[in-house]
Symmetry: C2
Subunit: 418 residues, 2 copies
Amino acid sequence: MKMKPLQVPKRTIMTPGPVEVDPRVLQAMSTPILGQFDPCFTDIMNEVMEMLRELFQTKNHWAFPIDGSSRSGIEALLCSVIEPGDKVLIPIFGRFGHLLVEICERYGADVYTMECPWGEVFDQQKIIAKVKEVKPKIVAIVHGETSTGCMQPLNELGPACRELDVLLIVDVVASIGGANVMVDEWCLDGVIGGTQKCLSVPSGMAPITYNDRIEKIILSRKKVEAGIATAEDIALGNKKNRIHSNYFDLAMLQDYWSPRRLNHHTEATSMLYALREGLRLVLEEGLYERFGRHQYHEKALIAGLKAMGLEIFGDEHHKLPTVTCVKIPLGIDGDWVRQMMLEQFGVEIASSFGPLHGKIWRIGTMGYSCRKENILSVLSALEACLIRAGATIHRGEGLQAALDYYEAPIAAKENANV
Amino acid sequence: MKMKPLQVPKRTIMTPGPVEVDPRVLQAMSTPILGQFDPCFTDIMNEVMEMLRELFQTKNHWAFPIDGSSRSGIEALLCSVIEPGDKVLIPIFGRFGHLLVEICERYGADVYTMECPWGEVFDQQKIIAKVKEVKPKIVAIVHGETSTGCMQPLNELGPACRELDVLLIVDVVASIGGANVMVDEWCLDGVIGGTQKCLSVPSGMAPITYNDRIEKIILSRKKVEAGIATAEDIALGNKKNRIHSNYFDLAMLQDYWSPRRLNHHTEATSMLYALREGLRLVLEEGLYERFGRHQYHEKALIAGLKAMGLEIFGDEHHKLPTVTCVKIPLGIDGDWVRQMMLEQFGVEIASSFGPLHGKIWRIGTMGYSCRKENILSVLSALEACLIRAGATIHRGEGLQAALDYYEAPIAAKENANV
């Protein structure tokens, strides 16, 4: 078989991930690799840990990526902490809450859920009341629910869980690097981020962080694998409550990410280069400047969509600034519009899952994709394709509203930093 | 914190992985990404499947990568097939046999092992006799044991297992793309490869393949996750014997790698580009030409090492052509020598694990690293550092023997293809 060289079309990717990768990250990935125990490589591992701590706004020692997509990080944290029969409370406000349930159930947890309609978030006090009632070992929750474009406040829930001695594990995949995530300030015990969204690094790594409350559980379940265990490791014994997965065993991963450098997997070299460069870009821009940029362009997008006559889906007071959900006008085939946008304009937006499929589109403003020209491209393509599909919209108004926003004096100042 | 730009020293990587990445693969990774459901991207997914079938020499439909390091592929296959209490027979001849035990035990298998000394392989008839005695559901075994440099023949074991209706699952991480692996011919039911060795692609993906015997088990355990399941999926029910891991659930991964494209994880775009280019390089070179090249340079390396006065470790009749194990001369500190080779010459070789640590070095001849100049560099650096360490060796003989080999008429012809 003769396979042609790789050639990809130019795309404007405005989905909630994966989004366009920063050119500096793409370039970093073409750097020749190093051996996994080469001191120059272990230095890079340490640098990534250091930058991840800044990203997560934490003093936690443990902050490193799991080699796999975002859900690999979720599974690694949950399976390392959950022992069969453990009570886990999961407030669900979208698809990724269900994913947390799914994973916890597979690892034998006794799962309690509470749900609110997709498009809303929970009053934190209601969750706290449920925590007091259920008395779980763990609360697992999503921060930015990419399926609905909503962001759950956690600033009261975290301290309450800490006081009640309940662990709080949070999926910040869709918010990290694009919206504020204060791991220590909010008392989050274990946190999972993603690379392919606001960090503008390709999918394939899941940065996580966790504190000593979680580490204590992990260490109590530790067993070094046969074939590399020392006599001392073996003396520590064959724990009955050992972690179920080998690949996701944080007790062993810790040893690999510590000076002991005990071999576990072979670290994904080029992806680590990519993450390192992505983190450098975040810290160079400044965390809060970056959050500001995400909100800034999100507002331009919303102004454009509304001016076009479209309606934003979900509770606007708890909107995830990195994902904007738009109601598909009645009678319009959402997938047809998306397909035309991609084929004719090279602009990609997303549909949603389950009950929201066909009801809303999701437009991301994430990382490197979160730029003025991309906002203008998506508004332009969406308008043209909507007209083509026969929708009644305010022609020409979307781009004018976005341009008005960008040209307004107060905005112009902020825009200088972009 | 101000982090400096990524800068890595030039290395000659002669470990058994990760090895030097082919420059064409590095370049492919700097290609802008595509959305995961972009038809141009799903075409690439299909192309990778097609090329993997050729690599594995199989007609299996299922051949795709797991997003994670090699052991993620091992865990995905084993955990999707093993149900608690299943008997698994694991013949162990090195560290990675122990890893198979480790993973199977964690998933509740009733594990039976047989061991032979590290440095040897099993007489296949002995394994077959044990299969008849134990009557396991699965035999799991390593093909190329990178910890000892030995390669286990499987051509009799496979057909025997098929006849006894036992599944044979094989770790070919260290051999695939460098030594012959005939999945269909040898009747291997499930096979896990690696990228960072003979494919010269960075670590971060584990290509696997499996046949309908395995698929049948996987489908019997299938459950589509809540949040994306259709009514039909839900009607299929909540299987009691469902697969333990979500991330490694091959039933769901199959749906993602099929025309249904049911969302599971977000495929690691840049790594898939890398794998695609790595596979193109393998198929352009030709599978058997590539195996020939690996053996060709392995012989040069062995000639050089022996001429230097060093001894090869392990059964030479069952040597893995991609890894050469060398006994560390008595009284020499193996790690000191390796460190000096790296620091002074930028040449990296490996130690080994467990009982062999400090006893042998392991030198890889894998993929893009398997080139004449690398063989000559490793021999040169090793000799100089051994002399520096006070070892008594035949000075100057190693390189002369390798050059003799390369310059010999019969070799010259083969070398033209390299």
